[in-house]
């Protein structure tokens, strides 16, 4: 005899067994929304008389070329073997090479070490490195003379968690430099604040650090005394206050609020929900709302970027000329030509559809930035670095990986579609040895590797390990090796790719 509770449990699990089980690649759904967005935007324009739709930023069209150079399977000279030391589970590309040691940050909470961990590897043997107290590290970089780590600290009573950079020279202690973000002001104007997505790169032209501060503006609290509104839309210029929502006869208005604003929807007993017609009754600039540039930047989801001239110099805010809400963490690279900042953007619509793309900003000196993209077809940047001495990215189109290259100041991309490298659980890295892309096909994991981005070899990770792999935790390419950290049962293992 079963109880009602047993029957409920059984029924819910039976329904769960019917759920779709194919794992779709991240962001594939977002890319597929492009068509829906066009229809949705048109609908919004119709019902709202262009009032709401016109306030939302649109991304500029792609102007770069797509080369479609041939890619092929072939011998790359990269051979794979099991590693002798378990490496940290590292987000791709977060690694630096200094004095023969590889440094990388584990981007996760490690209970054994009370926080995230900076790891160092010499000859493939990994060991944790002590960090200054309180620093929750995000990424490490080096300029060949010093090691830089960017992270956040613990929040204190009445103050947000600070964001700062630590520098260590050979044999020296750590030296701290703050990233000047007015987090307290952002918190005072917001429903919630999450600093994160920190990135750092160091090179001959100095050090650049980037941060994302996720927030949801508390517009109701910011309105001037005596001002009320039925709704609002956050825009590049400030906030548009909206009048009452008007619904066609028979439809019931309801209000929904998000970081995009507060909008009225029209609900019916049957049929789809539509945005109500709402007129813009007043426009308030950021200044009229009494908020500064940091609050504006956080509210719009734009990256915070800072440049320091050299070791010990203060970090100064710079404008990367990159409007648009960040969709994925920024990737930073530095070389003798300056800096590249890559990130995915997303334009949310009030109806929750999206428009996504990926952009590259370049600076010769770290202070003056310009648009160097977008990368054709790419909606998500998985890894950045250099291939054959050329700045390169591994990107994702929504259906397949591509290799993007900056040649003569312009980005082009070569699709890897002919190699059928689509799949789930994608991860990628670019290092001095070349590029690597990890993917899951069915229950099997594979790594595709290339020295130049044109000729690729594909190797089964399950065959190398000799047992079924449960997860790939990290892909790391630094120095003359590529490391893939995998989880087999409860054990972490590494697979190492080298040449020769």
């Amino acid at each position: 005899v079963t109880t009602l509770e047993d029957d409920i449990r059984a029924a819910l699990h039976q329904r769960a067994d019917l759920a779709p089980t194919e794992v779709r690649p991240p962001l594939a759904r977002r890319a597929n929304h492009r068509g829906r967005w066009v229809a949705a935007a048109a609908a919004v324009a119709l019902v709202a008389g262009s009032l709401v739709a016109a306030t939302l930023a649109r991304h500029e069209p792609s102007t770069s070329v797509r080369t479609d150079q041939p890619v092929q399977l072939g011998a790359t000279g990269i051979t794979w073997r099991l590693g002798t030391s378990v490496g940290p589970a590292i987000r791709t590309t977060d690694a630096a090479l200094l004095d023969g040691s590889t440094y990388a940050v584990s981007l996760g909470y490690d209970p054994a070490r009370q926080g995230r961990t900076l790891w160092a590897s010499t000859d493939g043997q990994w060991a944790p490195v002590d960090l200054p107290d309180g620093l929750m590290a995000y990424e490490a970089a080096t300029d060949g003379a010093g090691l830089y780590v960017v992270g956040t600290g613990p929040a204190t009573v009445g103050a947000q968690a600070p964001v700062w950079v630590e520098r260590r020279d050979a044999g020296d202690g750590w030296a701290r430099s703050e990233l000047p973000i007015d987090l307290d002001a952002i918190a005072a104007a917001s429903v919630e604040v999450h600093p994160g997505g920190l990135a750092i790169a160091a090179g001959p032209k100095g050090i650049v650090a980037a941060a994302v501060v996720s927030t949801w503006l508390d517009v109701g609290r910011l309105l001037p005394a005596g001002v009320t509104a039925d709704g609002w839309a956050v825009t590049d210029a400030g906030v548009d206050l909206l009048g009452p929502g008007t619904c066609p006869d028979g439809l019931r208005p309801s209000t929904s609020e998000s970081w995009l604003g507060r909008f009225t929807w029209c609900e019916a007993g049957e049929g789809p929900l539509t945005l109500a017609e709402q007129s813009v009754v007043r426009q308030l600039s950021w200044a009229e709302l009494g908020v500064g540039d940091d609050v504006r930047r956080a509210a719009l989801g734009e990256p915070f970027v800072f440049h320091a001239d050299g070791p010990g110099k203060p970090f100064v805010p710079v404008d990367v000329q990159g409007p648009g809400r960040i969709n994925a963490w920024p990737e930073l690279t530095a070389d003798e030509d300056g800096f590249d900042l890559a990130y995915g953007r997303i334009a949310d619509r009030p109806d929750w559809s999206h428009d996504v793309d990926a952009v590259i900003r370049h600076s010769d000196d770290g202070t003056t930035w310009h648009d160097a993209g977008p990368i054709p077809s790419v909606v998500h940047v998985m890894a950045t670095g250099h291939l054959d001495g050329t700045p390169a990215v591994i990107g994702w189109t929504g259906t397949t990986p591509v290799v993007g290259r900056r040649i003569d100041g312009r980005w082009s991309s070569d699709s890897l579609e002919p190699l059928h490298l689509d799949g789930a659980g994608l991860g990628a890295a670019i290092g001095p040895l070349g590029a690597a892309i990890v993917r899951q096909v069915g229950t099997q994991w594979e790594v595709a590797a290339s020295r130049d981005g044109h000729t690729w070899s594909v190797t089964s990770l399950d065959d190398l390990v000799g047992r079924p792999i449960d997860q790939v935790r990290a892909v790391l390419a630094v120095g003359e090796r590529i490391e893939v950290t995998v989880l087999v049962g409860k054990a972490l293992m590494t697979v190492v790719g080298t040449v020769g």
């Binding site: 009602l4 509770e5 029957d7 409920i8 449990r9 059984a10 819910l12 039976q14 329904r15 769960a16 067994d17 019917l18 759920a19 779709p20 089980t21 794992v23 779709r24 991240p26 594939a28 759904r29 977002r30 378990v86 490496g87 940290p88 589970a89 584990s106 981007l107 996760g108 909470y109 054994a112 070490r113 995230r116 010499t122 990994w126 060991a127 929750m136 999450h194 994160g196 997505g197 996720s214 309801s254 929807w265 609900e267 019916a268 007993g269 049957e270 789809p272 929900l273 960040i326 994925a328 963490w329 789930a424 659980g425 991860g427 899951q440 449960d470 997860q471 790939v472 935790r473 990290a474």
Partner: protein, 157 residues
Amino acid sequence: VTSVAPTVVTFEGFYAERYRSAVRLAFVITGDATSAEDIAQEALARVEPRFAEVEAPWAYVRTTIVNVARTQHRRRQGEEARVRLATAAMPATTDLVTSELLDAIDRLPFRQKAVIVLRYYEDLTERDIAEVLGCRPGTVKSLASRALARLAEEVER
């Protein structure tokens, strides 16, 4: 040098590991396969930018799934009959008791339904459910009690 194995994951690994769970949870709540995939992807996409600083990313995703499902529930009340028909047409729901129970669960007010799913499918405690729904544990107890009473009544019919 002794190496230490950290207990961390990348977003890519988390995504691969949790995608199916996310779709299943969304499907259990909504009963709609297409919308379940959308909700799961939405929830996973929302956690991505802050993945490193979220100490319990699955809890974050679970809460997001419930919230997005709640929004869609409001918007799609009119489509529920169609959803229920589609679900009932699936082969493994021919068990009459199960089918009847799922229909009854689907007819519950959203918060009662969420409590039932989180308690009997996700096996969460009252305190954890309260955190997901943004209410007090006492409210969860009351919602569960009302939901069970209503389900008992409906199944007996």
